[in-house]
């Protein structure tokens, strides 16, 4: 079977699902769960096919490559798709326990998911634009679903930032098209459009990926979004922009050094802020800023050809998605129990919930890069790549950044381990909420152990 078929399914199934959910709202949750299962099967199918048969590409409508809208899967894209499917499934399960059936969440989420998956399988720069904008729009609205003033403001800001990024990206695509006459990403890589195109497009993508110093919109949006939305945002939505940035960096490698510089800034600034803020979800959101910095540094290393860096970046993206998803789902459970997320006040609600503590612990281990988690494997690869390329500063940042992460993650665990009972009454938390968080956390730990199959996957280039 052509690996592109499951890829298309992965992108279109949520689209169909969102329409069905809109038509029959009372079945939302069941429909969503079924869709999620389907997407997971499709993603696994893509991974399997790519591993066995290699990368594949086609153009919709059978047009020649430089003219038509290309769909492509390679090893890296398959891994991102897998991350999307797994975290999406957990988020859907969580949402089923969190939101009622007749709730705008379902339509919006499924649309967002369709858009994200479309980004991961596209080979056309403009198709990417459309998908990215759909994702941005639905994500921003999802942020506001809670209805509080702060969430509205954060969502509006996210939306406007999205528009700015979109316009920049579109400008970049247009310049590239004018110079080379094609919109296909592969062709652009071969033809080297003028630097301006790359700068514009990457500028827009950096904004959407919250790369320092363009990160300001992320912490409020991710911290104030309701429950599973934060997980979806931090784990998946920023990854879509990152994925496109990876493709575009291969088109315009000159921007790699800028990514390194900004990435280091992100790691430092994000970690410092995470040590300061007083709310659980804000800590985790700033952690995303820092981790996107790592990914930026790793991307630059990969594009510059450092051996093993591509594997490191792909693995880091995958494990970050899982671990961050687990952390935010856990945080949402804390908010459900406590009614707020002021930290360390809300930590008391973790005290009799070993499932949640374990989920946070395992997620923290991966984010800090400790064995046996997947995060450790990613860190090993990136460190190896940096040292192999004799980029000592980057090696120090990669190694030391793990310690910074450990420091602000410890802020989460430390008060949770205090055995004294808290002063506030705790609301009940349905088991599916706790267990979806733990499921992702266990998975990211397992990914620290079952690595070999991924190596071959990443090596399969388009």
């Amino acid at each position: 079977m052509n690996p592109l078929l499951p890829a298309l399914v992965a992108a279109l199934l949520p689209l169909v699902g969102s329409i069905l959910v809109w038509l029959v709202p009372s079945w939302s949750r069941a429909l969503a769960v079924v869709t999620a299962a389907g997407v997971l099967v499709a993603a696994l199918g893509v991974v399997n096919r790519v591993a066995l048969d290699g990368a594949a590409m086609m153009t919709l409508g059978g047009w020649p490559e430089t003219l038509g809208i290309g769909i492509a899967v390679d090893g890296v894209g398959a891994l991102f798709l897998l991350a999307s499917a797994v975290v999406g499934l957990a988020a859907t399960a969580y949402g089923a326990g969190y939101f009622p059936a007749r709730h705008p969440f379902w339509t919006l989420w499924l649309l967002l998911w369709a858009a994200l998956n479309a980004v991961f399988i596209t080979a056309d720069a403009f198709n990417a634009y459309v998908a990215l904008e759909l994702a941005g729009l639905t994500a921003a609205v999802l942020v506001t679903l809670g209805g509080e003033r702060d969430a509205m403001a954060a969502g509006l800001r996210y939306l406007l930032v999205s528009l700015v990024g979109a316009t920049l990206y579109l400008a970049g695509v247009a310049v590239a098209y004018t110079a080379t006459g094609t919109l296909s990403l592969n062709a652009l890589m071969a033809d080297s459009p003028p630097m301006m195109a790359g700068v514009l497009a990457l500028g827009g993508l950096a904004l959407k990926a919250a790369l320092f110093p363009l990160h300001g919109w992320l912490p409020p949006a991710h911290a104030r979004a309701p429950g599973p939305v934060s997980a979806i945002l931090s784990a998946l939505v920023v990854k879509a922009a990152l994925y496109l940035a990876w493709r575009w960096l291969e088109v315009a490698p000159v921007a790699a050094e800028a990514f390194i510089l900004l990435g280091i800034g992100a790691v430092i600034w994000g970690s410092l802020q995470a040590l300061r803020v007083g709310r659980l979800k804000a800590i985790i959101a700033w952690s995303t800023v820092a981790q996107m910095g790592y990914l930026a540094v790793g991307l630059a290393l990969a594009v510059e050809g450092a051996a093993g860096a591509a594997m490191g970046v792909a693995w880091l993206a995958l494990t970050h998605a899982l671990a961050k998803g687990a952390a935010f789902l856990g945080a949402a459970s804390v908010v459900r129990a406590a009614g707020h997320d002021r930290w360390p006040l809300a930590a008391a609600h973790l005290r009799n919930r070993p499932v949640l503590v374990l989920a946070f612990g395992l997620a923290a281990a991966s984010l800090a890069g400790l064995p046996p988690s997947g995060g450790f494997v990613a860190k090993w690869y990136l460190l190896d790549a940096a040292m192999g390329a004799e980029r000592w500063l980057l090696a120090a940042v990669i190694a030391g950044g793990g310690l910074l992460s450990a420091a602000y993650l410890y802020r989460i665990l430390h008060p949770a381990l205090d055995p004294r009972p808290g002063a506030e009454a705790s609301h009940p938390v349905p088991p599916v909420l706790e267990w979806s968080a733990l499921g992702l956390a266990l998975l990211v730990t397992a990914f620290g152990v079952v690595v070999p199959w991924a190596r071959d996957l990443v090596g399969v280039a388009a």
Binding site: V130, G155, L156, A166
Partner: protein, 91 residues
């Protein structure tokens, strides 16, 4: 020649709109400036290729899509702005 004027005009609008977005803090102003900036970008994009045989249809398609996206986002942004005003906040 005409193309160059449109190009210049488009860039000017883009920069103007961009600056205003940053400098203004009022939500409505920002949305409007962003739209102006967007229009400037679209204008520049259409004018850039030089236009000997008229505008490149693919460029037209790009810009049309861009307009649609901008309109959709602006619409939602306006709704959010209104809701925010109801709740008594500043954006």
């Amino acid at each position: 020649m005409t193309a160059a004027i449109f190009l210049f005009l488009g860039l000017f609008l883009a920069v103007l709109g961009g600056l205003t977005t940053f400098l203004r803090s009022d939500g409505l102003h920002r949305i409007i400036s962003l739209n102006i900036a967007g229009s400037g970008v679209f204008l520049a994009l259409m004018a850039a290729p030089g236009g000997e045989e008229g505008v490149d249809p693919v460029a037209q398609a790009l810009v049309l899509t861009g307009i649609v996206v901008a309109v959709a986002i602006s619409g939602v942004a306006l709704v959010l702005l209104a809701r925010l005003a109801e709740l008594g906040g500043r954006s």
